[in-house]
């Protein structure tokens, strides 16, 4: 039988238990048939379409930010030749990972929480259970797997857009030619750095989407509580993104 809020005495306890139970349920049901391939595909397309504009715009703005900082201080200290390598290394090693993780939590994570929460509120999850359909299999697993895949593509897009944006705005604002930027741009970049960025974002995609689904799945209450739960989803996932970024960054720097 399902874990319900009646088993927890406090709100914090309910939050912790609901997330914990969702993780357990995810691993319990993911190895059991039927594997929801069709739903994963739909969720993949949906998450790509819904997150693309947000991440594209975020990456352009981030490129502008790096161009401004790099161009300003590069000009000030006569270090223009370092702008290219510093910008690309920073973008691929750190900035886009954090940006994509956070924007994904905002755009898709919150959507998952509210969507599943309103399904719980209107009895749609119970209706599925009564049709012998396990909602974890039909609702949560496709969203989590699709998120892990789509966030990889979104990171690839963010890498490209942020680098191009940096280059364009360095040219526009500081008249630094793309040749100068790209001369040594990829000197410090090894394939391992790129690979590690994809591993880190996949881990973020997994935790962000599963947390968001958990908060919606064990939701109980009305419209006001659903609003609060959506806020919790963003806050928790922001912190989770920061922690994962720190831990995976440290782990990979030390061991890989």
């Amino acid at each position: 039988m399902e874990y319900t809020q009646q088993e927890s005495k406090s709100e914090g306890g309910h939050l912790a238990r609901s997330v914990f139970h969702t993780y357990l349920n995810f691993f319990y049901w993911v190895v059991r048939p039927p594997f929801p391939l069709r739903e994963i595909f739909f969720q993949f397309i949906r998450t790509m379409l819904e997150a693309f504009v947000t991440i594209f715009v975020g990456s352009v703005v981030m490129g502008m930010f790096i161009a401004w900082i790099g161009g300003w201080y590069g000009s000030l200290y006569g270090a223009l030749s370092y702008i290219g390598p510093a910008a690309t290394f920073g973008i691929i090693h750190e900035f886009t990972i954090m940006l994509v993780g956070m924007l994904y939590a905002c755009r898709i994570g919150t959507a998952f929480t509210v969507e599943i929460g309103s399904m719980a509120m209107s009895g749609q999850l119970d209706a599925q259970r009564m049709m012998a359909v396990e909602p974890v299999q039909y609702i949560i697993i496709p969203r989590v797997i699709a998120s892990v895949i789509s966030i990889l593509f979104l990171l690839g897009i963010a890498h490209g857009v942020a680098i191009v944006s940096t280059m364009v705005f360095l040219r526009l604002w500081f008249n630094i030619s793309p040749e100068v930027i790209f001369e040594n741009a990829f000197v410090f970049l090894k394939s391992a750095v790129l690979n590690q960025s994809f591993i880190r974002i996949a881990i973020m995609g997994f935790f962000v989407s599963l947390n968001a689904c958990a908060l919606g799945y064990y939701f109980s209450g009305g419209a006001i509580e659903l609003g609060r739960t959506a806020t919790k989803s963003i806050v928790i996932n922001f912190i989770v993104v920061l922690i994962i970024d720190l831990l995976t960054g440290m782990f990979m720097a030390i061991f890989l």
Partner: protein, 251 residues
């Protein structure tokens, strides 16, 4: 047969079920009546395996469900259809997709067979003309009818109704009532209905249990309620009169 023995459910300090026992025979329509907030839906959720009681046992066709595995529970639930309050249709799906959903998910039939079955059940609930509409385009009564078709599509042995007429105007409530009677007469489905609607109780119940203070206190036959010579009927009338007394209204 469905049997609940000595069920206890509490939400914090709110004790909802207090040692409730009930037994439902096959092909019967059993109605559990009681005022709103007494715990009827909690009982129904326990019997459907959606909520685990704090204490007590539930048997469906002799199988105990409170301590069973998740896989086993899914298998047992295929025997039960449930009409939830407000219907709980999937907003993003059409009427056809809503009704076909369990068949498509379980991959039990070919596309042609699914079409045929969906048509059959949409005809039973007189909703075959509206198969391409979305739930937001339907009235409350129509939503219940579609939800009823969806609950029946897996051809369950038991059908649970959670307040099937609540929030409906008398004509829509009448339509839902007639659907329940039609299913009972034509398909001989064993039904469990929880309601505070005494009129519905009179029309559809073979046996009626009155739920008071977390227990079933009286069980009567449907014809006794229909003849208005029953403890349960008296209970509802007295309850209304008491409310008028408390509010100081003259009737």
């Amino acid at each position: 047969m469905i049997e609940a023995r000595d069920l206890y459910v509490s939400f914090g300090s709110n004790h909802v079920l207090k040692g409730l026992s009930v037994r439902m025979e096959d092909t019967q329509t059993f109605v559990i009546a009681g005022r709103s907030g007494i715990g009827k839906t909690v009982l129904l959720r326990c019997l459907a395996g959606l909520l685990k009681p704090d204490k007590g046992r539930i048997y469906i066709d002799g199988e105990e469900i409170t301590e069973t595995t998740k896989d086993n529970l899914l298998r047992i639930r295929k025997k039960i259809g449930m009409l939830l309050q407000q219907g709980a249709l999937f907003d993003s799906m059409t009427v056809y997709e809503n009704v076909a959903f369990p068949l498509l998910y379980h991959k039990m039939f070919t596309k042609k067979e699914i079409d045929r079955k969906v048509d059959k059940y949409l005809k039973v609930v007189e909703m075959d003309e509206y198969r391409e509409l979305f739930p937001k385009e339907l009235s409350g009564g129509m939503k219940r009818k579609v939800a009823l078709a969806r609950a029946m599509i897996l051809e369950p042995k038991y059908l649970f109704y959670d307040e099937p007429t609540s929030g409906l105007d008398p004509s829509s409530a009448g339509i839902v009532e007639s659907m329940i009677i039609k299913l009972k007469q034509e398909m001989r489905i064993t039904s469990l209905i929880v309601t505070h609607d005494i009129e519905l109780t009179r029309y559809v119940g073979d046996k009626i249990g009155l739920m008071v203070d977390g227990k079933i206190t009286n069980i009567e036959r449907g014809d006794e309620i229909a003849a208005r010579k029953s403890v349960i009927y008296e209970h509802f009338i007295k309850m209304r009169e008491r409310m008028h007394e408390l509010n100081g209204t003259k009737i």
